[in-house]
């Protein structure tokens, strides 16, 4: 169970060298949310609304400037995300995993898929030697619909959809409980998009994953998630079950978002 409690994050604005004081911009302001084990939580909002920052805070990539982020794992242990201790980080890494938006940028173009998959595992408590790592890499690759022959290829040899599958496989290598997906389908074209969503759906059922799913596509989120949070200007403005939100958006901003979904004329 992932809990964000009044979390804020600000970034320093680039100021001139002689500027008197540093100025900040708040990317996330006092966001509180809770994702139960096994749940799929969607986070929507327009560009710059703080979705990605929230996700990166949740996985510990950024340290919050205010509030607390905690994670309770399946065994019931409570971890504090964003704490600096090396051991705390190491424990969290095998429970929380993160998938980046653009696989063309998040996979090192010069490395073979096998070394991409093994690179991170090597430094976790789950490392049992190269042989074991290789078989796990193969298992992870097969679970995302790729085959052994792909192990020796490099990311540029793959199509966009396949690359995102590799990125998901990398996240699955540590056998995480929770997967945080940051707009993982927005860089893909529509036909591939549904394949990746189906894959994620399948993995969620198979592995019992908890998912935090970030998107700006309301249709996808409504279809895919149990609960949805709506973000605007770094604040969480509305939170509801997906169907309820689609049927009856309360907040003005959410209504605007739904109104902005292009309506295609019915065929025929």
């Amino acid at each position: 169970m992932l809990t964000l409690d009044a979390v804020s994050k600000r970034f320093a604005l680039k100021a001139g060298y002689f500027a008197a004081a540093r100025r900040h911009v708040y990317a996330v302001r006092e966001v509180s949310l809770r994702i139960a084990a096994g749940e799929t939580y969607g986070l929507v909002g327009e560009s710059g609304s703080g979705k990605t920052t929230t996700a990166r805070l949740a996985v510990g990539m950024y340290r919050p400037d205010g509030g607390a982020i905690t994670y309770r794992d399946r065994a019931g242990d409570l971890h504090e995300v964003g704490r600096s201790g090396a051991r705390a980080r190491r424990e969290l890494r095998t429970r929380l995993a993160y998938v980046f938006q653009d696989p063309a940028r998040s996979l090192n173009p010069r490395m073979r898929v096998e070394s991409i998959l093994l690179a991170g595992l090597r430094y976790t408590a789950n490392w049992r030697g190269v042989e074991d790592g290789r078989s796990r890499a193969l298992a992870a690759l097969e679970s995302v619909g790729l085959a052994a022959r792909h192990l020796s290829r490099r990311p540029p040899d793959f199509s966009g959809g396949q690359r995102q599958r590799v990125a998901i496989a990398r996240a699955l290598m540590v056998q995480p409980e929770t997967l945080i997906c940051d707009e993982i389908v927005s860089a893909l074209d529509v036909s591939i998009r549904s394949q990746i969503l189906d894959l994620l759906q399948h993995l969620r059922r198979e592995l019992g994953l908890t998912l935090m799913f970030i998107s700006h596509d309301l249709a996808v989120v409504t279809y895919f998630c149990d609960r949805v949070g709506v973000m605007q200007d770094g604040r969480l403005v509305e939170e509801a079950a997906a169907r309820e939100l689609a049927a009856n958006p309360r907040h003005g901003y959410t209504q605007t978002l739904y109104a902005a979904v292009p309506k295609l004329p019915a065929p025929g």
Partner: protein
Amino acid sequence: MAEAAGRVGRSAALWQRLRARPVAAASLLVLVLLYGAMLFAEFLAPYAPTTTFRHHTHQPPTLGFHSRELGFGPQVQHRVLVDEVTRRYARIRGQHYRVRLFARGEPYRLWGLVPLRVHLFGTTAPYVDEEGATVQAASGADPWLGTGQAYPVFLLGSDHLGRDIFSRILYGSRISLTIGFIGISISLSLAIILGGLAGYYGGAVDWTIMRFAEFFILIPGLYLILFLRSILSYDWDSGQSFVVITAILSFVSWPGTARLIRGMVHSIKREDFIAAAQLQGIPALAIIVTQIVPQMASILIVSVALGIPGFILGETVLSYLGLGITDPAVSWGSMLNRNVTSLSNLRAFPWFLYPGVALVLVTLAFNFLGDLLRDIFDPYHQERARG
């Protein structure tokens, strides 16, 4: 697919460019030949670097190709010293010795393993001095000297002790040509680690390392080398001084490369795949070495090719000043130091400059090759070349 195509395209482009640029192709050929000669120095050189012909000091190149007696073919004419002061030699009419391929000569061990006596070329005529007596063992331990030396053939002349300059150039290349590779690998490792850490961490680490590097850059290199050399002891054997010289040169040359690497690491670390690696908990040094450095492989290849001549010249400068390789070890720099001591010396015995010719050849070859590699790998240069 794009990557694979790029790979094929790259090696194809290399061949295409080699054909389009004969100078670079010739450079590659020169380097291959010189390094090959370095490997087979014992076989290719007619004499050991320490073999002296006491009655043949300061002798100009002696190989001839025609005489009335022997007709056409490689041969040497017997020469006798006639002027002790100007070291002038007179040729004896009618006394010619054939230079044979695969002649038996001094015994040696190829690569320290295979005992052999055959050299690529040499004479089989006995070595006789002015009085007509066959010269016997100068140093008794050597069986070849013990049974009498063959009459010497000096392809590039002999030095002030009567040693064959051609043989010494070949043996000297073992130091002069390897110091570049060893030096550049030490200095590049230092540059990758220090520049990498500076670029990766930024902030105070960056500041400290780069100010340290700039301190080394701002001291004139030669004085720093001389200072470092002078605070270290003098009486070393050749192996030790080789190591020390290499270390000193590497120590002086890392900051420039470190600055280059720091800048590149600084930009590459913003990539998403580095963020992914950090998130996975991969240690900083492992990220730098396995993920960041391969991204700039092409730049590093170029900087290696262009950096090697610097080391070769550095060794030469040190040896020329008498602070580097000393007898009995031989390097191109130490040969110049021994022989080229004054201008009148040079005017009288211009063949003493042959090690310098070898040096210029190697330096130019590495530079031309480096230029070619840069044109292939560096996209900006490529565009300029096309446009």
